[in-house]
């Protein structure tokens, strides 16, 4: 079944997202990790659920949730990065430590 393979891939993404959050020592690296790996994990899980349900009432709502996540996830990490950048968290200094 195709949805089991997709769910298995998503476990790999979730685990590596958690490792990335703890492995890097800089706020911007953590933001880069979370904005990519976790969005991909969410997308993979939702696509797997769509394949499992087929065409029904479920899949329409799942597609809506998928579009919503694709639109809002970069915006929220952008907002956090902008707030940190304008408050003067410098990049070079953090790297030097």
């Amino acid at each position: 079944m195709i949805y089991r393979i997709l769910l298995f891939i998503s476990w790999v993404y979730i685990i590596f997202g958690m490792i990335g959050i703890f492995r890097f020592s800089n706020i911007y690296s953590r933001l880069l990790t979370s904005s990519k790996i976790d969005t991909v994990a969410a997308m993979t899980i939702l696509i797997a659920l769509i394949f499992k349900c087929g065409f029904s009432v479920f899949s329409i709502r799942l597609i809506l949730i998928l579009i919503f996540i694709i639109i809002t996830s970069p915006i929220s990490s952008h907002v956090i990065a902008r707030s940190a950048y304008l408050n003067g968290i410098s990049i070079k200094k953090e790297v030097g430590k």
Binding site: I14, S76, R82, N87
Partner: protein, 90 residues
């Protein structure tokens, strides 16, 4: 029961990662790391609600997931704007 095993394992994994990001939220040195952990937790809650709705075959849980996503996005945006303006200090 065996057909739903993958869904159950995914839910358990997501709950474990929520607790791990709670640790990040507690030890995070700056405010923005706490915001980042909040963002992760809200994204994972949407996923748990969606998977549980498919597992129980209940359509209304998906609506709850959608509205929870809207609330989480508004939370992140408003908190970042508040911190950007300086919080209560100004």
């Amino acid at each position: 029961m065996k057909t739903y095993m993958f869904l159950v394992i995914t839910i358990i994994l997501l709950i474990v990662t929520i607790f791990i990001s709670l640790i990040r939220m507690i030890i995070g040195p700056t405010v923005w790391e706490r915001l980042l952990a909040l963002n992760l937790i809200s994204a994972k809650t949407i996923l748990i609600l969606a998977i549980y709705g498919v597992y129980k075959e209940n359509v209304l849980l998906l609506d709850v997931a959608f509205s929870y996503g809207i609330i989480g996005f508004l939370t992140i945006t408003l908190l970042s704007r508040l911190i950007l303006k300086g919080g209560r200090q100004k």
